[in-house]
Symmetry: C2
Subunit: 147 residues, 2 copies
């Protein structure tokens, strides 16, 4: 069965993530990952391995914004069993890139976490937008209101 | 810590999925999901709820193929703790659609599973292709060789 106390810890884990993005602070975001994390990121490449790749991607992402990024988490779901847990949610990213491009995008996120020494860390992350086979486009505006 | 016996069960769970697709048999594929499953599918909509939506999507998917679908699982990773487990993998889909279109596509998959009465069922599934922000396209050819 799932464990309410552990699930509260996962909700707090996601709240910490939101606070770190708001502070544009990559260090706690990277430290929330296990060394052996396997990531399926929203942007290419399709798969990365380890916290080095996570640090590079997070730093590049934060540095690309002149204003923002705004990062709002919606529809958070969590479950935990033993030392394994997961979080799924939809997040809205907004802001202004260096160069002037405006970002207004909805992403689907799944985090699989392992608890080591009482602390949750991400061992697998999957972030994406849906793919429209009619046009070949990624659907970056598909928010919860459109489901 | 993770449990090798439970992890073997998750590998078998994925092998069963591959066998059911090869047999074009939607029933065991649907039955592998919990009633309350939350899905982030590769194709729109961005999120679906419950086994009714899963059954509709799987039946439409299998029925769309004149030849296939071929479904090959690569780079399977699993972990289990208590009654929660997850599988992540890359899969290659191939075949010929009714109407003649050829499919040759790599998808990233994450399945979060719960063990009820000794049996794993999917409570959350996330399938996707990466999104190229330069072109706006979904990258359907991004296989493990391209990482």
């Amino acid at each position: 069965m799932t464990d309410p106390t552990l699930e509260d810890g996962l909700r707090e884990f996601v709240a910490d993530r939101v606070r770190a993005v708001a502070a544009r602070d990559a260090a706690p975001l990277v430290d929330a990952h296990s060394q052996d994390v396997v990531s399926f990121p929203v942007l290419p490449p399709a798969e990365t391995h380890g916290t080095g790749d996570v640090a590079d991607a997070l730093t590049a992402w934060l540095d690309s914004y002149e204003v923002g990024p705004g990062y709002e988490v919606h529809h958070l779901r969590v479950a935990a069993g033993g030392d394994l847990g997961y979080c799924s949610f939809r997040y809205h990213v907004s802001g202004t890139l260096h160069g002037g491009g405006e970002v207004d995008m909805w992403v689907r996120a799944t985090l699989v976490c392992r608890r080591d020494d009482g602390r949750w860390r991400i061992i697998h992350t999957h972030e994406s937008v849906p793919f429209d086979p009619e046009t070949g486009a990624g659907l970056i505006s598909a928010g919860p209101e459109d489901d």
